[in-house]
């Protein structure tokens, strides 16, 4: 099949622009349509499955019931308090992780020696599921927001560290040599050449880390009863309040989607002006 590129290349400029615009708007319309229909169909299916009793309404409240419950919850101050607590835990966890991981990552990434010296500890600590630390946190920081922030930060730290290291190391040697030959000082080379080229990697790291931070903040709330959406979910399950359970799960889902969309958008912006683009879905 000929690509749109082939076709576009053979048109004169004004024709090309017009052709592109028309194709684009028609395409966007059909895409939006398919998108909407798909979601509507899934929601309808949920409603059907639950109402007809394929899965009992006790186990799976109907779609309409769940959303109605969510709607009524959203109008309570209690809901937003919990929501804000989770967001706060997420943000602080991510913030602490960033504050630690980025400088450390730059340091380790800039020095070949340091990177290799610390390779083994990093490779070992990285895969540790942060969830394993929950018992420890019970014993030390207790069931306070400090535990939540620690857990979220611990989990978010590693992807960001690794990505920053990659980013700093992946500088085009030609750019560095050019800087050196023009007598640009070491520190200036760092923030004029290395950092800008590391930004896309850091942006990818931020996307991954913001997802991880939310998961862990929620986990801390769920398992340790720290105030927040996770605690609400735990409470709802413990007391057999299915409608609330699903409503809060939906709310958490939407929060997760919102965070993901924002961090992915930021990543895309950062990647756009990088000469070689590197993307890996996490």
């Amino acid at each position: 099949m000929a690509t749109r590129g082939d076709v576009a290349a053979t048109l004169a400029a004004p024709e090309r622009a017009r052709w592109r615009r028309d194709r684009l708007s028609l395409r966007k319309l059909t895409e939006a349509l398919v998108f909407t229909v798909s979601i509507a169909a899934a929601l309808a299916l949920w409603e059907l499955i639950s109402r007809t009793g394929v899965i009992s309404q006790k186990d799976l409240p109907a779609m309409s019931t769940s959303f109605r419950e969510l709607w009524s919850l959203v109008q309570t101050g209690d809901f937003w308090k919990a929501f804000g607590q989770t967001v706060r835990g997420w943000a602080l966890g991510l913030g602490v992780a960033t504050a630690l991981a980025v400088p450390l990552g730059i340091l380790l990434g800039s020095s070949d020696f340091a990177a290799r010296a610390f390779r083994v500890p990093i490779e070992f600590l990285r895969p540790i599921p942060s969830a394993a630390l929950i018992p420890l946190l019970f014993l030390t920081l207790g069931t306070t927001i400090k535990s939540e922030i620690f857990l979220a930060a611990f989990g978010a730290f590693w992807p960001l560290l690794v990505q920053t290291m990659y980013g700093v190391r992946d500088v085009d040697p030609l750019a560095m040599d050019t800087g050196r030959s023009f007598g640009v000082g070491r520190f200036e080379r760092l923030y004029r050449i290395k950092l800008p080229s590391a930004v896309p990697y850091i942006a990818t790291g931020l996307r991954i880390s913001s997802t991880v931070s939310l998961i862990l903040a929620f986990t801390a709330e769920l398992f340790m009863g720290i105030p927040g959406l996770g605690q609400k979910v735990n409470y709802a399950q413990a007391f057999g309040l299915e409608k609330q359970l699903y409503a809060y799960a939906l709310a958490t889902g939407f929060l997760g989607v919102a965070i993901h969309l924002v961090s992915a958008a930021v990543e895309r912006r950062a990647l756009r002006w990088h000469p070689s683009q590197r993307v890996g879905a996490a």
């Binding site: 099949m1 000929a2 082939d6 076709v7 290349a9 053979t10 048109l11 017009r18 052709w19």
Partner: protein, 286 residues
């Protein structure tokens, strides 16, 4: 010659009839190929040249059955081409994106044979014979990316040969290869044509190459593409990189084709200053 009789005695292998390919509709339409007609006889070596951007690749893809033409069609031994025919093989310019990097040379050449119902020993023989024809037997278990560009293109040719086609389509196959290797590959393809007695349709932008290889050269116009002229090449065979190119006839043919193309190129660029200044087209009639 025996195989030609065995092939049913068709004199015309390929007939391209008023082939056109247009993208889009109405006033936004792009005519990649306008109206191209020519034919290729059984066992002929026909080269296709034209100014850059004249849709040579689109034309070849239509003939190969990879694209459906908007107008007209292609007949292969009298039968209409609607999908890639069993007896046609295609060699692409970019060998690096055509040879599968996860497979060895052997398995790459084997790939097209896998769905043909042949006994294993037969397949093995075809693979080994075709690699022998391109002198790459030693590298049968290497990976394509371990070989040089010229060698990789030879693997692609071997793969096409193992497929046992009656017709070989080649899309600027030697363009990504260095000049010296190109000469070797040109001679290789001539040798292969004789040994395997196949018909070859060869697209190129290298005018010297087209005259050196061809029995006839089809010269295309700029977009919308049509056949400008078909130039018979009556140089003696077997061709030789030095002897043939020393012949005065070679120089004349080459110059003729070159002029045809230069004229097409200048016509295809309406914004050229020479035209605006009233200077006539280059090229004196031959």
């Amino acid at each position: 010659m025996a195989s030609r009789v065995a092939r049913g005695g068709f004199r015309l292998m390929l007939e391209v009839k008023h082939l056109g390919k247009t993208y889009g509709t109405g006033e936004k339409a792009t005519h990649a190929v306008g109206d191209v007609s020519f034919s290729v006889e059984d066992g002929e070596f026909v080269c296709v040249v034209g100014p850059s951007g004249c849709g040579k690749t689109t034309l070849l893809k239509c003939i190969a059955g990879l694209l459906r033409p908007s107008n007209g069609g292609v007949l292969l031994r009298g039968k209409r081409v609607v999908r890639p025919p069993e007896e046609m093989a295609l060699v692409f310019q970019e060998y690096g994106r055509s040879l599968m990097p996860w497979a060895s040379v052997r398995n790459n050449v084997l790939l097209p044979l896998r769905h043909k119902k042949l006994p294993r020993s037969e397949r093995k023989r075809l693979v080994e014979d075709s690699l022998d024809a391109v002198s790459l037997t030693r590298f049968i278990d290497h990976y394509p990316w371990q070989l040089s560009g010229g060698m990789q293109q030879r693997v692609a040719i071997a793969r096409a040969l193992a497929y046992q086609p009656t017709t070989l389509l080649m899309d600027e196959p030697f363009a990504s290869v260095d000049a010296q290797t190109r000469g070797d590959l040109e001679d290789l393809i001539l040798r292969v044509r004789n040994e395997y007695d196949i018909t070859i349709l060869f697209v190129t932008h290298d005018i010297d190459e087209s005259v050196y290889l061809a029995d006839r050269v089809v010269v295309l116009t700029h977009s919308p593409t049509e056949v400008k002229e078909i130039v018979p090449v009556e140089l003696p065979r077997p061709r030789d990189q030095i002897a043939t190119k020393e012949l005065p006839e070679f120089a004349q043919l080459r110059a003729h084709v070159y002029r045809l193309i230069k004229r097409e190129q200048s016509v295809g660029e309406p914004a050229e200053p020479t035209e605006a200044a009233g200077v006539p087209h280059t090229g004196t009639p031959v």
